[in-house]
Amino acid sequence: MTTTPVAEATKANLNRAGLDKAAYKGSKSTLCAGCGHDAITNHIITAFYELGVEPQSVAKFSGIGCSSKTPAYFLSRSCGFNSVHGRMPAVATGALTANRQLIGVGVSGDGDSASIGLNHMCQIFRRNVRMLYIVENNGVYGLTKGQFSATADVGSRQKGGALNDYEPIDTCALAIELGCGYVARSFSGDGKQLVPLLKGALSHNGLAFIDVISPCVTFNNHDGSTKSYDFVKEHDIRLHELGFVPHYEEVSVEYDEGTTTRVDLPDGSYLTLKKLERTYDPFDKRSALSTLAASRASNELLTGLLFLDENRPTLDQRMKLTERPLIELTEADLRPGRAVLEEIMETYR
């Protein structure tokens, strides 16, 4: 074997972790050609690569569904746990509690999170576990062939023609209502928006939730669907133009303070929100909730950073957890001494 010297051009492609983009890929996708989920996978790869995250420090989690398969398709150098349907939040909570140095990424589907797993998703919002939680939202159960999920909009139609008239679950509204501190919505086809949102999420101290509309080309991309590529393109209203500046970037980026808001994140990175048509304040919980409710009523799809609050205690903080990952504690740390046992025994005499 000969050692090929790394070409200059390649070197230029290395990120601050010394890795090229290929190092962030996973195994080949087995999803349908054109599936929104594959696009999201690519945006995830881009975000992690550009940020220069050490892949080995990431832990991936998912439930069951086409969307939940995707953690196998990115970051193959990271460990992952593809668990059971709807229960990803529980598994992630356990793992990230056991090792608080892991960077957690959960990928779920709308069926996984808003139908069978709704309770667990709501409770992880309340617990504020440090992780990135992505719902790849196509309004249907892809893997079981296209039944409506709980995010299907009123008035949308199934491929076979059946009409949905149940109130959809707006996962972002629930996230805001239940104490999640980073809530965003985006579209699988909008990398310009989604990539900064993903990066911002990774800088957030707590649970960062992103609902990404991700068309299912096989079962929910027809006329009458409200999660088709066409529908999204027509109804997408971007709340702002997003930028992300990482904490390790030397040069500070220039922006117009009149039109752009700078949103500082705990690790020193920041997001820039450049105003588009509408004025939107992502720091006001009440107005965020009522704007979301209004947008649903008028069939608008608002995308962007919906809500941010960096002051919520995380689960680790609430538990006053030691800084060292629990998994690194040794027998000496964990097993009290003989005297302690004797002292405890005495209380039972």
């Binding site: 992952g80 909570t93 356990g94 538990m319 006053k320 998994i327 005499r349």
Partner: protein
């Protein structure tokens, strides 16, 4: 009048929420302080306050610890149950009752001591709530005098019970005195029951099984506990919270453990598995309905080979059943919990001491075998007070099993998560966060090959299942072996597990007295070790004693040892009450008589 020394039962019939528990524990500890073996069982309703509760103390210097069905001394404090309580007494028993009740004695064949408990308590305090509480201490005083309890032993018990609350101590001692005085002045002892100091409890402890299990988890290195409240399990994680809160901090005072009250039992086990996968020692604790909810995750744990410890403090019933009554009704279910071909390691402690040791051992086994380990206790063991030798400090270090660090990987140069490298069916694992480029793998509940890659290939899938079977073969010789007590001649064998042990121990002696000599093997774990087969092989008739309706352990034995299936007979008990020796003895004696005919 004969004296019955250090061998009787007391039952206090009262109302829950009335504060009698303290008085009962003082009574129990007084006897214990006198060096006499004893233990206490609380029979309480699925309710918070106002319904009947019975506390039973068995005093027995021979050390028998199971429930005795007959009540020698009944202290009747509950208006609503006194008629039934009295009716159940055998002739010659003692009835002490509160004269404040409307009850008037009707039975001539009892030794009856009426006592104005409420009025006597009124001498100590006029505050109604306090008076209600102190009423209970009066009967302790009465019994002190009647039984001959050492006043020092009683006072020590009061001090311990109300530790650090001087006022409570003095009020209770006051009430106690009233009881003593009343008995001295107004009652003439007409019964046989007496205590006399012995030296049989020196150094021993009185403890509930759930507290012992929590201690096991503490000393076993548990760092993550995810749980959801349920009777009779809640006091286990709650004890862990207390213990860890006291003994688990880093030098900055930060917690070296995490406890999460989950939204349900599904999430509890999910959190445990996440933590176990990440490399922590994690546990949950529940009872029947929670076990049912954990079914799907149990299969995920088995198939992905993720460690975790699940305590199942069994209670009576299919469905909600009798949440405050005891049973051994989950063993068959837990043995193979989840759809498809799933099996689990199950530990079955019989004593509070084993709650402690198995509580630690469970974490070692979970790590070693990379699989969930279920520790099955029951309400009787978990929530009642048992006398025990003090727990010995563990000499065995943690066994963290086959975990490869980055430097291990560097040395070995390759890694496949699910390959059977050592031929024992147990693969190696790495933990997420391991920085070595070879370390990563993907855990999934769907089909996978040795490299942890997705597969639907029949041969690969079958290979995985076969390796899992091999792993459980290995486990047979690693789980706690049965403990055999000889006494027979190869004719009759008894098998039991968990709390049934105590009744069987006593029953062995009762049977011997009836001329039935039996060997007795106590099962302590699944998968069933080979020694079980040897025991079956060497007896002609084997009685399997258990506290469920369908003979669940017998079913497991028949499944696994078909050659001996025909010689197994079920001795069952399933009314929710703790098992007593007479129930076992009567059934076996009857069967043996039939065998002899």
């Amino acid at each position: 009048m004969d004296t019955t020394l250090n061998n009787f039962t007391i039952q206090v019939a009262t109302v829950n929420g009335s504060g009698s528990q303290s008085a009962n524990l003082v009574l129990l500890r007084s006897i214990f302080n006198m060096g006499i073996p004893c233990n206490g069982k609380n029979l309480f309703p699925s309710n918070i306050a106002g319904l009947p509760t019975w506390f039973t103390i068995r005093v027995d210097e021979r050390g028998y610890a199971c429930r005795r069905k007959d009540v020698d001394i009944c202290v009747a404090m509950n208006e609503n149950t006194i008629d039934a309580d009295v009716n159940e007494l055998a002739p010659g028993s003692v009835l002490i009752y509160n004269e404040a009740l409307s009850y008037r004695p009707r039975r001539e064949d009892l030794v009856v001591y009426p006592c104005p408990f409420t009025a006597l308590a009124g001498k100590v305090t006029t505050e109604p709530k306090l008076k209600k509480l102190l009423t209970n201490m009066v009967y302790v005083g009465l019994l002190q005098e009647l039984l001959g309890l050492d006043p020092v032993a009683v006072e020590q018990a009061v001090q311990k019970q109300f530790a650090r609350k001087a006022k409570a101590v003095s009020l209770n001692l006051g009430a106690l005195k009233e009881g003593v005085a009343f008995a001295r002045e107004k009652l003439t002892k007409r019964d046989a029951f007496k205590v006399e100091r012995r030296d049989l409890t020196a150094g021993k402890i009185l403890i509930e099984g759930n507290a012992a299990s929590a201690l096991g988890a503490l000393f076993g290195g548990c760092t993550v506990c995810a749980w959801y409240p349920i009777t009779p399990s809640s006091s286990l994680p709650e004890a862990f919270i207390d213990l860890a809160g006291k003994h688990r901090h880093d030098k900055d005072g930060k917690a070296t453990y995490a406890v999460i009250q989950a939204e349900d039992e599904i999430a509890s086990l999910g959190m445990v598995l996440g933590a176990g996968w990440a490399g922590a020692r994690a546990m949950t604790s529940t009872s029947g309905p929670g076990i049912s909810l954990m079914t799907e995750f149990a299969g995920l744990a088995y198939f992905t080979e993720t460690p975790g410890v699940v305590f199942d403090v069994q209670r009576a019933g299919p469905s909600t059943g009798l949440p405050t009554r005891t049973a051994q009704g989950d063993i068959l279910k837990v043995a193979c919990l989840s759809h498809g071909d799933t099996q689990h390691i199950v530990l079955m402690p019989a004593s509070v001491e084993e709650c402690f040791t198995f509580g630690m051992e469970a974490f070692d086994l979970a790590d070693r075998f990379q699989t969930p380990v279920f520790v099955l206790t029951d309400l009787d063991l978990g929530m009642n007070v048992w006398m025990s030798d003090p727990f010995r400090y563990p000499e065995k270090p943690f066994d963290r099993g086959k975990v490869l660090s980055a430097s291990d990987l560097e040395r070995i140069g390759k890694f496949e998560r699910y390959r059977d490298v050592d031929g024992d069916g147990i693969p190696y694992r790495t933990l997420p966060g391991n920085p070595h480029p070879l370390a990563s793998w993907f855990a999934r509940g769907s089909g996978h090959n040795e490299a942890a890659q997705y597969t639907e290939k029949p041969a690969e899938y079958k290979r995985k299942l076969e390796r899992l079977a091999r792993k459980f073969e290995t486990a047979k010789s690693r789980v706690p072996a049965p403990i055999v007590k000889n006494g027979g001649d190869g004719e009759v064998g008894l098998l039991a597990y968990g709390t049934s042990h105590w009744a069987v121990l006593e029953s062995c002696d009762q049977l011997a007295a009836l001329g039935v000599k039996a060997d007795y093997a106590r099962l302590r774990a699944l998968p069933l070790p080979d020694a079980v087969e040897q025991f079956l092989a060497s007896h002609r008739r084997v009685y399997v004693v258990e506290q469920n309706q369908s003979g669940q352990m017998m079913a497991l034995l028949r499944m696994h040892f078909p050659a001996h299936a025909g010689k197994l007979r079920s001795i069952l008990h399933y009314d929710g009450m703790p098992l007593d020796a007479a129930t076992v003895t009567e059934q076996i004696a009857a069967c043996e008589k039939e065998s002899a005919n």
